[in-house]
Amino acid sequence: MKQNVFAFLAGVVFALGLGVSGMSQPSKVRGFLDFFGDWDITLLFVLGPAVCIYLLGTRIAAWVSPERFRVSSDPERMGVRFFSGCILFGIGWGMVGLCPGPSIVILGQGSFPTVLFFLFVLLGIYGADRVLAGLSGEK
């Protein structure tokens, strides 16, 4: 129960963050990606502090209380699969300017295109999961 309350509150604040930051305004995201043209660097001010806070916070927690908080990682194997996934994701991100988190947040406007976009994100996730499970011989 406590987990669910924490997760719910985290979801609320995370979505507000995606709204306030400008990550849910497709033109802003595409402006950030337009560094061959009219480059808008604003979103660097989102990523920079976010990564720093996470980095410092997790390291401090691990230093203060090593028995409770351990810094661990589970990196992806950087092979063909990984690189093609990154490229496909980037192309989709640049085409419209929305990544998965903001595709949820922008649902708030309640328009047909945002619902369509979100449903196709889900379809992409579901389809890729099925294919990956098939490739690794599960199920």
Binding site: A10, S24, V46, A50, V51, E76, Y126
Partner: protein, 137 residues
């Protein structure tokens, strides 16, 4: 609000939430992974991630009242462009092992090399897509 200030405020909220989730629940925050687990349609698999997604949805709806300009931009691209881009974003994230939250925020914040590489590729291929589609202006 000034664009840079709101970006900064958003970044603090995003980083703070990811840190909170990592410390309180012990997991990194990754939206595409959460959605994938939700799509297993098994409560035991999805667990608290459903609560997280419900919180996001509630905040998304309330942004209409508290900060409508954050989410009011219409998606003006052709429907086939929207559908294709969404498939690529959803599928690509799973194949890459994470999206902007899992790789670019938590992974880079964990100093994972694969996440730094993923983020660079996300941005470069996104830039190529914007360029091929004729830029933003």
């Amino acid at each position: 609000m000034n664009d840079y200030l709101s970006a900064l405020a958003g970044g603090v909220l995003l980083g703070g939430t990811a840190l909170f989730l990592r410390l309180a629940l012990g997991y990194p925050l990754g939206i595409s992974g959460f959605l994938s687990k939700a799509l297993s349609f098994k409560l035991t698999v999805a667990g608290w991630r459903l609560s997280f997604l419900a919180g996001m949805l509630l905040a998304a709806l309330s942004l209409n009242w508290i900060y409508p300009s954050a989410i009011s931009e219409p998606l003006s691209a052709d429907l086939w462009v929207l559908g294709l881009a969404a498939l690529l974003v959803g599928g690509g994230a799973r194949i890459a092992g994470g999206c902007t939250s899992g790789h670019s925020l938590c992974g880079m914040g964990n100093l994972d090399l694969d996440s730094v590489v993923a983020t660079v590729i996300f941005i470069v291929s996104g830039a190529v897509a914007v360029l091929v589609m004729g830029g933003t202006s």
